[in-house]
């Protein structure tokens, strides 16, 4: 009798743990939404004040690299979800390989991003220093690229932290006999990972698309 009661208790506790972890992550993501919301607000306020300069800034960004990076992040979200599904089925090998693929795609995104950063520095498209003396809208473009570096930088920092936590999760999971017990960890982390994807979905049109025409 006691054993069945304690089994029920532990099942209830596991369910409560999942609910608490999920809610905790959503509260964190809500505060993050206001952080990025403030950056997007600054972006659109300045875009409203300097429309031509911001359109010129958008045209300086590489549309092909931006599109590839967007699809890479979406692919990483797919592998994250497949990793969680495999963990729910207690398939350790498949789960770990999916998570490693997720981390690898995250690193690929950062690699392409750093390539774009190096192009920007080569063309002096960064705030401070000698800033594009040949450009038509020096003030607005300075603000555009200031916001570009802050927004993509904060996003890349979140991704970097995510990859670090993911590496730690992969390490912990590889030492566990049953990955199914760690589903709550993966599920909660998955929310954060998809959230990074979500932010990029709005950064991409703001920084790469809007203003190529119109």
């Amino acid at each position: 009798m006691t054993s069945s009661a304690s089994l029920e208790d532990s099942a209830l506790m596991a369910e409560n743990r999942k609910r608490t972890a999920e809610l905790g992550m959503w509260i964190f993501l809500a505060s993050e939404a206001l952080l990025f919301g403030g950056l997007f607000l600054a972006y659109f306020v300045y875009r409203y004040s300097f429309p031509q300069a911001f359109a010129a800034g958008v045209r300086e960004n590489d549309l092909i690299l931006g599109t590839i990076n967007t699809i890479i992040l979406m692919l990483s979200a797919l592998f994250m979800t497949l990793g969680i599904l495999a963990a729910e089925n207690d398939n350790k090998k498949s789960s770990l390989s999916c998570l490693i693929m997720t981390a690898f795609l995250g690193l690929t995104f950062l690699g392409i991003k750093s390539l774009e950063y190096s192009h920007k520095f080569q063309h002096h498209l960064y705030p401070g220093g000698v800033f594009m003396p040949e450009k038509n809208w020096p003030v607005g473009e300075r603000i555009f690229f200031g916001l570009y570096f802050v927004m993509t930088g904060v996003h890349a920092l979140h991704l970097l932290v995510g990859i670090g936590i993911l590496a730690w999760l992969i390490f912990v999971l590889s030492h566990k006999p049953r990955v199914r017990d760690s589903t709550v960890w993966l599920y909660t982390f998955g929310l954060y990972w998809h959230y990074i994807d979500l932010i990029w979905i709005f950064l991409f049109p703001s920084l790469y698309l809007l203003g190529r025409f119109g």
């Binding site: 999920e22 959503w26 797919l78 979800t81 979905i201 991409f204 809007l210």
Partner: protein, 98 residues
């Protein structure tokens, strides 16, 4: 509810297709429509991610309240600020008054 790997693969293909579409549309001159179309596609992609990947449809009510609350605070932040910016010159230039 989407829970099989195959369904998530279709979701990914849909998201990637929308990304290619929005990049392609950005290269076509649609005048004033480029901006709303890009934002609309981004919102569609975001909804897919929140609904299916972040499991908001199967989350409990408290989580849903936090998700909706986030949108509410964000809309206050953005709408009230732009209410100010769009109406800032109305008082100095009466010809712009509605």
């Amino acid at each position: 509810m989407v829970s099989s790997p195959k369904n998530f693969l279709f979701l990914f293909l849909g998201l990637a297709g929308l990304t290619l579409a929005t990049s392609g549309i950005a290269l076509i001159n649609l005048g004033g429509m480029n901006f709303p179309i890009a934002i609309l596609i981004a919102c569609l992609q975001a909804s897919i991610i929140i609904y299916y990947y972040m499991h908001i449809q199967s989350a409990e009510i408290l989580v849903k309240i936090f998700a909706v609350g986030t949108l509410l605070w964000l809309s206050i932040l953005i709408l009230l600020t732009f209410n100010d910016y769009f109406s800032r010159y109305w008082t100095t230039n009466p010809s712009l008054w509605p």
